[in-house]
Subunit: 156 residues, 2 copies
């Protein structure tokens, strides 16, 4: 599978979440071209404010691989991880993050964002994580558009 | 109960964690002088790199109170929350964080810290959370000393 295909899995998963009344975020965690976990934001379903797609993907990957060290794993996230999720990626020693939409896009659609970019977190926090932004950006932004049209959407 | 007593509960909980081979961090979440949740770091027990004391305390509080909005709740943490935990506090709309030891203390004892202070996260991220640092600092630093003497300690 290609990187494009991994991101498309994250996008499809986010779409599943939207259809369940969740917010439009998906994340796919990959190691050696194998999908380890693929999750959507589940804050409302779980009634858990920490249930961002990336956090759930990391937790599931730790369980699945039997380790807290996810070195060599790559995160494909439909939106730039918030500082909580970026920091979780750092703790998990994830090697690289690909993301589509930016934090400023999420803010535009009403999310209560912490406006600190991944680039900034990486530099200031001296994290070795590699970052590739704007990856399938248009397809990822499309998720916000679909979500904003749904009748049972809830922002937070 | 007083704020000192809430922090002492977090310290005692961290001590319970140390005795289970966990890292020396505890957090107590309080609303209107009632303890909502009190947890220790459980990364090794749960095999979950996101299982910091504050994250678990927030998740339990959401479940217990039946809401993702923890406005009015106060976090007592034995150590300055890492950026993951600080951001989770922001998302949960927690009103105030009291912490004892600082991120630099955790680093001194070998933790792979992201060196971004809560003050910085608050200012840069425009978070309304209030912060009170150095709260029972010596008692909280004592936890690191106890932990460093334990034979089954594991850093990450």
């Amino acid at each position: 599978m290609t990187n494009n295909e991994f991101m498309l899995l994250a996008i499809e998963k986010a779409r599943t979440g939207i259809n369940q009344g969740q917010t439009p975020f998906g994340a796919c965690l990959v190691r050696k071209e194998e999908v380890i976990s693929c999750e959507h934001n589940n804050v409302w379903n779980n009634l858990d404010i920490t249930a961002h797609a990336e956090i759930i993907a990391i937790r599931k990957a730790c369980k699945k691989l039997g380790t807290i060290d996810l070195s060599g794993c790559v995160m494909f996230s439909t939106c730039e991880p918030c500082p909580m999720c970026f920091s979780a990626c750092h703790w998990a020693r994830i090697s690289k993050i690909y993301y589509g939409a930016g934090i400023e896009d999420a803010k535009k659609y009403g999310f209560n964002e912490i406006e600190i970019s991944n680039d900034f977190m990486k530099e200031k926090g001296k994290s070795p994580i590699k970052i590739e932004k704007d990856f399938l950006r248009n397809e990822c932004i499309q998720l916000f558009k679909e979500w904003s049209k749904s009748t049972d959407k809830n922002v937070y």
